[in-house]
Structures are given as C-alpha cells and as structure tokens.
C-alpha cells in the first residue's frame, strides 16, 4: 500500500504512456492512433512534473512574503513541460492535417486498406 502511495504519480504517468503505446500499436484507424499519441504525450508531461515534485511543496511563485524557496517544487521541469505541451499541440495538428490529406487520397482511414501502411 505504501508503494502505491509513494509511486502513484509514476504509475499513473507510465500507465498513460503504455496505454497510448498500446493504442498506437493495435488500432487500425488513424484518428484513434493520433488519440493514442495524445494520451502518450499527456503521460510524459505528468511524468516530468512528478519528477520535480517535493512533498508538501508550493508552486514556485513568490506571491506572498512568507514563502520559503526550500519548500517549493522544481520550476525547471514545469518550464520543460510548458515547451512539451506546445510541441505536442503542433505535432497533433500536423498529424491530423496529414490524416486529412490521406483521407482525401484513399477515401479511408483504415491502415489495413491503405497500401504501404500495414505491418
């Protein structure tokens, strides 16, 4: 039980990453694969944030006088995640636009029916 309490965020984030990977591997519909990619992205973000967490820490903002720097969570992973979210948005938008073009060309989103894309 203590293990789950200590590692809850890691379990959740890696659960999301593995679920996303599994979706990408087994689904045949391209839109569903992009949803898997998005879930994986979320998992990576939660993992990065939880790496920098301090038990009982506050947000790294000195909005009041009596906040101690030693009781704040790590700001560097949060800045990295800010970057990662925007890049994730760009990737998903680009993937969706490629899917639109693919649908126009083949008339289907099933990767089994699109030549050269099945494995």
């Amino acid at each position: 039980m203590e293990f789950i309490e200590n590692y809850l965020y890691y379990i959740a984030s890696f659960g999301l990453i593995l679920i996303g990977l599994y979706i990408i591997l087994i689904k045949k519909n391209l839109i569903k694969m992009i949803i898997g990619l998005s879930i994986m992205d979320t998992g990576v973000n939660i993992l990065l944030i939880s790496m920098g967490y301090l038990s009982g820490g506050t947000a790294p903002i000195f909005s009041r006088e009596n906040l101690l720097p030693s009781r704040m969570v790590d700001p560097v992973p949060q800045a990295l995640v800010l970057t990662a979210i925007v890049i994730g948005l760009a990737i998903i938008a680009l993937a969706l636009s490629l899917t639109i073009v693919l649908y126009r060309h083949y008339g289907t989103l099933n990767t089994r029916k699109i030549r050269d894309l099945k494995w």
């Binding site: 590692y7 920098g52 903002i61 700001p75 560097v76 760009a90 680009l94």
Partner: protein, 227 residues
C-alpha cells in the same frame, strides 16, 4: 497475433521502467538547478514567477526554438492542406440569434482574459503560451458559434505573427548589443510583484502571446477551410 506481439512489447517496456524507477523516489527532488533558480531567481530576473524566469530568461533561447517549431508546424499544416480550389462549405445557415449574440458578447471578454494572462505572466501562473491558447479559443468560439462567418483576414494575422516573432528576436539581439549576451535582461528590473518589473520578460511574453494566439487561430482556420 498483432495484439499479442504488441502486448508483449508493452509488458517488456513496463518491466524495464519499473526496475529503473526504484532509484527515483517520488516527492524528494534533489536537483541543484532548482535550488539555484529559486534562490537567485528574483534577484537575477526580477520575476516572482520562477517558471516564467526559467522559460523566458534562463532558457530563453530554448523558447525561441519552441516558437520556431510552432511556426514551422503552422506553415507545414497550411502547405499540406493547401488546395487551389477552396472547398464549398456545406450548410452555411446562419446560427440562431441566442448563440450568435452570446458569442458576440463573450468574444471580447475571452480576448481580455487571454491578454490578462499573458501580460501578468511574470507575476501569476500564466504566460504567453497559455494566454495565446485562450485568445485562440475565443476565435474558435466565434468560428463555431457563427456559421455564416467564413474565414478571417489572414494577411493581418500573418503580419501580427511575423511582427511579434520579430520583436522577440530584436529584444534578444539588443541584449547582445548592450551586454554581450543574447536575451540579456538589460532593462531595469523594478520592484518584484509589480506589473512594471522584470525587465524584458513581460515584453517577450506579450510578443509570444500574440504569436501563439495568431498561430493557433491560423491552424484552426486552415483545418476548417479544408473540411
């Protein structure tokens, strides 16, 4: 067969992660960079939000690269979706009066909220990327709410985007001129927790807010035009 192979692959990755994670306890970060940023952050950058000072000041060059990636994605998206003949939009019926009026009423408020978020990026949780996303969500509301409105003035949007990107680069290059470092914080830092403080950080974040807002709106607009 496919499912079995995938499942075995996922299980192998899960076991590897589980073994490696035992060395990284949760809730006990020991990073030296964290200590440095939290203790020297206000003194060196003037921003009370340390995440902002990391994003715009300590890692400002990285943010410039990130903005470039977003720009490239927007350009790539409009290049991929480009068609010579624009698709006829089906069902161009005007939306109902309540929906239309509600959108018209909410749109300036959402813009104001987005502007508040990116102007106060150095004081409160927020910043250019978040504020830009809120501004773009306001434009999305207008697109969804009023069906009769077809497209924005794209050239004005492109001008906004380019100008704000240019402001970011020029502010960084002025740092090179004043102190010999790209993106040096050369303006007076002021008193922490006031709106006019933190030197170049608010200027850069306002530029990023305009850029991200116009870029995401452009992405949404491209996708709707192609549909």
């Amino acid at each position: 067969m496919r499912k079995a192979v995938s499942f075995i692959l996922v299980v192998i990755i899960a076991i590897g992660i589980g073994l490696s994670l035992q060395e990284v306890p949760f809730g006990k970060t020991k990073s030296e960079v964290r200590k440095y940023c939290l203790e020297k952050g206000i003194e060196q950058t003037g921003a009370t939000n340390i995440v902002t000072s990391v994003v715009v000041n300590y890692r400002g060059f990285d943010t410039l690269g990130e903005v470039t990636v977003l720009f490239l994605a927007a350009i790539g998206l409009s290049a991929i979706l480009y068609r010579e003949k624009e698709g006829e939009r089906k069902n161009r019926r005007r939306s109902s009066l309540i929906l239309y009026t509600g959108c018209k009423f909410l749109f300036p408020l959402i813009l104001l909220f987005g502007a508040y978020i990116f102007i106060h990026g150095h004081l409160t949780p927020g910043g250019g990327f978040q504020g830009g996303a809120i501004v773009a969500s306001g434009f999305l509301l207008v697109i969804l709410g009023s069906r009769s409105w077809w497209g924005f003035n794209r050239s004005k949007m492109k001008i906004t985007e380019s100008l704000s990107g240019l402001i970011f680069v020029v502010v960084g290059l002025l740092g090179l001129l004043y102190g010999g470092h790209f993106l040096l914080n050369y303006l007076p830092k002021g008193i922490p927790n006031e709106l006019f403080s933190a030197g170049i950080i608010p200027i850069i974040y306002i530029a990023i807010g305009f850029k991200v807002g116009s870029e995401i709106t452009g992405i949404i607009d491209d996708m709707i035009r192609s549909g």
